[in-house]
């Protein structure tokens, strides 16, 4: 009853969600610094919004690269 499978599954899900929320938070913070260089306006310029999207996707590419490199280093 203390460690019901529902509870375990719930905790796993919430842990995943927390990791995702943390990644989005950190990435938004970093990409904001990189991309929003002037005083915030009433909307983003297209270069600002493109920069934010690119920033996030390049971060993903980078984590893949680093993972691959790490794996090859361990062989």
């Amino acid at each position: 009853m203390d460690s019901s499978p529902e509870l375990q599954r719930f905790l796993q899900e919430e842990k995943q969600k927390a990791m995702i929320a943390e990644m989005v938070g950190k990435l938004t913070s970093e990409c904001w610094d990189k991309c929003i260089t002037s005083t915030p306006g009433s909307k983003f310029s297209s270069s600002e919004s493109t920069c934010l999207a690119n920033c996030a996707q390049r971060y993903l590419d980078m984590t893949m690269l680093i993972q691959k490199k790490f794996q090859s280093m361990q062989q």
Partner: protein
């Protein structure tokens, strides 16, 4: 045999919280934690962008900058989330 030792039947079920109630409580605590962390980020970024020359009071342009900044930061969070989860990697 001592009747004062036996638990009253009406409160027997309150000794252990049921999983659903625990999950609900955890969920709402997590929501609060996410919101607090988000707020802290927004405060930091918008202070940096908008309060560049602190005066003796908040000027109108400072407060409208902050308002726009909050909107933009929320928008930026959406852009980053969509870019991360649209990605087919």
């Amino acid at each position: 045999m001592d009747s004062s030792m036996s638990p009253s039947s009406s409160s027997g079920s309150s000794s252990r919280p049921c999983p659903e109630a625990m999950m609900e409580r955890l969920k709402s605590q997590l929501e609060v934690a996410y919101a607090e962390e988000f707020l802290q980020n927004v405060e930091k970024k918008c202070y940096l962008k908008c309060i560049t020359k602190p005066g003796t009071s908040m000027s109108g342009s400072d407060s409208s900058c902050i308002s726009r900044c909050v909107d933009r930061y929320i928008e930026a969070t959406g852009i980053v989330s969509r870019a991360l989860f649209r990605n087919p990697h």
